[in-house]
Symmetry: C2
Subunit: 218 residues, 2 copies
């Protein structure tokens, strides 16, 4: 198994956590999103992912290497192919709840603030660094405040986003908190998120997946 | 079953298609995203979805109404709870491929261009109508060009995004094409997408789910 990853990519970070939680051995192939004009735009990587985004993931299937893309699709694949340690609950209603929490990060918060959007703001639209950071904080704080409410209001929230075992939701939450802290977002009104984040960061699977633990960390 | 929906919301449109493909009867509860300051911000709707987003979906579970949110989480729930007519393929690799196509729409194209982002551009950042539309077209055309490549390059692409039966990927693609056309995006370089879109629009499930067919259509 190979994970095409960038240490600071939060979508890569999600997949790293799931691979670690499931105890799967994988090789990291670093794709530097900034150096060399962005290695995700190279011909060799485009052959793996025409979307020019990390992560991409390769697994052996019927004797050949198959490439998968989009972090949540990769994670659902891992859940189906390696179900021994699950990252989704057992029943359909609870699974929908955990997926909904994960998608709140993956569809509402992260896409508006990923590298290519921030770059477009400064390079194409002439935003200053301060305006770019204000954009980041606006969407991040609004999205995380809604997520805080979802978590605080739900009786299924436990030590982690769902009960007392990490799930897909935690695997998405922790990388988002990491990003939010990098951009100095105000997380003081998000006690549930911060408590869960802390609980996750005590686990080996999360420690090993952190940007600072990656072979391409700077 | 109740679907809290707005006729022009492409995330609601996705769920409507899946409900129709599966032949499930449901009641539409219209939530007007513009009138009355946005009904998604009302106290009664916030009790159902603190994220203040459509769609939300209610189903009976163990004798009580349970609310689900986030279109893709709702669709995965429908796939698990009502599996008779599936919208995902059988094997894990193909399922990952279909989910990846769906997520290309749901994570890469749609979030940067949804109503609240476009509003923020004009109301908070002072973008002109023309600048807002240019923003829309930039992200929509870039994202759809990547999706076109994914579809054109994959031997599994058939009459629909995956083979000759509609899947989750088509349910996400068609609402995105509808949006792109509303904003006059240039879709001339996307023959595969447009061909698939046309094939979908010939099916009753897609016709019934279209914005113009909704009880709240204007």
């Amino acid at each position: 198994m190979k994970l095409y990853s960038y240490f600071r990519s939060s979508a890569s970070y999600r997949v790293r956590v799931v691979l670690n939680l499931k105890g799967l051995d994988y090789e990291t192939v670093p794709i530097h999103l900034v150096k060399n004009g962005g290695e995700q735009h190279s011909d060799s990587f485009r052959a793996i992912n025409p979307e020019e985004l990390v992560p991409a993931f390769c697994d052996m299937h019927e004797g050949r290497d198959v490439a998968l893309t989009q972090s949540l699709a990769i994670i659902e694949y891992l859940e189906e192919a390696y179900p021994e340690i699950p990252v989704l609950p057992a029943n359909a209603i609870d699974r929908a709840h955990v997926r909904s929490l994960a998608l709140s990060v993956a569809c509402e918060i992260h896409p508006v603030n990923n590298l290519r959007v921030l770059r477009y703001l400064t390079k194409d639209l002439g935003f200053t660094e301060e305006q770019k950071n204000a954009w980041y904080r606006h969407w991040c704080e609004a999205g995380m405040a809604a997520l805080e409410q979802k978590l605080a209001a739900d009786p299924r929230t436990g030590r982690f986003c769902f009960g007392d075992t990490p799930t897909l939701a935690d695997c998405c939450l922790v990388p988002q908190v990491f990003n939010a802290q990098r951009f100095n977002c105000d997380l003081s009104r998000m006690p549930t998120i911060m408590r869960i984040n802390q609980a996750c960061l005590e686990l080996n699977a999360f420690i090993k997946a952190a940007p600072a633990s990656q072979p391409d960390a700077e």
